[in-house]
Amino acid sequence: MSTPTTAELKPAPPPVETIRIKVDGRELDVPKTMPDWQGKPQPTTMLQACAMAGLEVPHYCYHPKLPIAGNCRMCLIEFGTPMMGPDRKPVLNEDGSPKIARSVLPYEPDAARGAIACATPISPGMELYPSSAATKQMREAVLESLLINHPLDCPICDQAGECKLQEYSVEHGQATSRFVETKVHKPKQVDLGPRIMLDDERCVLCTRCIRFTRDVAGDDALGIVNRGSYNSIAAYPGRQFDNNYSLNTVDLCPVGALTSKDFRFQMRVWFLKETKSLCATCGTGCNITAGAREEKLLRFEPRQNDAVNGPWMCDHGRLNYKWVQREDRLSTVISTRTGSGTWTGVLAEVAEVLRNAPKGSVAMVLSARQTNEELYLLNKLAVLCGAITDSIAREGQGDALLVSPDKNPNSNGVRLTGVAYTEMGIQIPKIAAGIRNGQIKTLVVFGEDVTRHGLEGDVLSRLDHLIVSDVLPNETTQRAHFLLPGCAHIEKRGTFVNVKGRLQKFMKAVEPKGDARPEWEFLGELLQLLGRPENFKSLEGLFNQMAKDTPAFAGLEWSRIGDLGVNVKL
């Protein structure tokens, strides 16, 4: 029990069967099988073997989490196999090493024949030549083919900067093309659905989008129409490509054919500051990369974490960032009692109120959208004031892939930090009754509009003190006597525990607006004002302190969580 990172420390796996091959002349033992896109063991492919040798084989249609198509031909590599004599025994060189037959065209023994590395399994003694002249030539030729009908409109293409066609052209392409004919023109600006725009001219027909939506999202909405060079990706005319995972096709698209309407033309990607964060829309806790420029959030993209979301995320979560920087965002700290507008003043007042509150006269409603660290500090505060605490459950529709029916990002954090033990919201009627009968005089609310969860306006109006921290205005914040503007998770650091018990940390992508501050900061100050000086100076310190005090997190340290999180015992 001393190491809660148990999920990572499985017993040593049985020794894997390996195959000895040569990659670019270097001997290498690779496992006989590797997991395929669904995780089932399949014979190791040339591409995987090259990756193990530290060589990236360029590809468009191949994606580790999609079935193999083998149509882009970009991953063609030259290879050789041990020569077999007529007696089915290997032919040997003079020095006793097996003689290798390079793959050649059967009808043209001087020309090398490539195999697609993404689909061709390796065999013992095989030699791969991913850096040979012939391989290089094959790549050049495929790139030339892909580019002849490409519109080359990088200046207006949103993919520019993260486009595989650009990258490979620089890395593997040739400087000039011989093409002098007119290009094939295809539909541009095709409205595929509410969130996706398609440019068929840019498409390299890798079919990643088709395979994703068919085999992963389970909505077989896309296909190829027409034939030959006129092939175009399309949805059925009149049918919207609108499933909740459609935007993943934008990430998958190696070129700028599929673009997100939301992000389209908003900013060139090279200006984005990318921050590792989490999606807080539901309990799944998909890992994301938040892109922002000059404190303006511009997009969320999934960040691969096979323990949680793989490389995907849902559209709803991806687009759920705009509220953070809304105009009416709470940005001033307010005390209606003194009209004070400074943190020092208001926190002093709040401390005064809580210090003088008799035991049992304080209640706290704390959102499961707060971070573990904040909940930990709030729980401390609750103990100090002898307060009754609870949180609000938020149930909704889930699906089979990623969306969880629990719409709180940190329900488990609420439980593990002791804010609510079993069922969330069970104490709310008790708090309401307490306020009604005058027993509870002070209510602390963090991140919830309690008027919509059983503590209506007339109940709140009976309170002596209503201390509220939130991000956006609502009826509760309007009634607050003390308003402490907080941060959205994307504006601060912290940790959440997802529905499956994975503790994950997130970083700060943008600065909060105005007076707004991370809650853990002012909570630390508040505790200090209440005579409970805390030891932490930073979030790291706070986390480590919390981990020591909380049984579920025992043994954890901020620096050891890593980008992909760790499993904790629920």
Partner: protein
């Protein structure tokens, strides 16, 4: 315009489905049958087939746009398909095509399907019809014609009219 499949045709189609272990396989035969009956594959037809075979309409549409024999628009009452591939080209298929086009006032340079204004004929070049030994060959609707000389072509037109 409602898309209504007559009962006999539907029965025929239902029988076709039983030929295959998987329903989807029948889609090509469905398209043939529907096109034979209606002359072309409309959007409604594609959707009807899709629902009949438990497919997405895009699956059917992929086929309609892939296989050149399927039409998305009504062709002429008599469809003249002239083979343009090498043996027939050597045997005079281009002259034959031009002959038809001039006769009907169509563009002799266009290879794709062209329909006369009155909708009676449509002329198009198609690829190899597997009748190379008797070039030039052509099809008039489902009929196969070999050694089509220009005079034979005229006969064919008058027979159609």
């Amino acid at each position: 315009m409602a898309f209504i499949v007559p009962a006999e045709l539907e029965a025929e189609l239902n029988e076709l489905v039983t030929h295959y272990p998987q329903k989807r396989s029948a889609s090509l035969m469905f398209l043939h049958a529907i096109q034979e009956h209606f002359g072309f594959i409309s959007k409604e037809a594609a959707e009807w087939i899709a629902s009949k075979l438990d497919l997405q309409p895009i699956h059917v549409w992929e086929l309609v746009t892939f296989y050149p024999m399927f039409r998305q628009h009504p062709p002429g009452r008599h469809q003249l398909k002239i083979c343009r591939t090498l043996s027939c080209a050597l045997g005079g298929a281009y002259a034959l095509h031009e002959h038809f086009c001039r006769k009907f006032g169509l563009d002799p340079k266009a290879h794709g399907i062209q329909t006369t204004k009155d909708g009676s004929f449509s002329v198009e070049f198609v690829e190899c019809l597997a009748g190379c030994g008797t070039a030039p060959v052509m099809m008039c609707n489902d009929e196969f014609h070999e050694n089509v000389s220009l005079s034979k072509a005229d006969e064919l037109i008058s027979k159609c009219q």
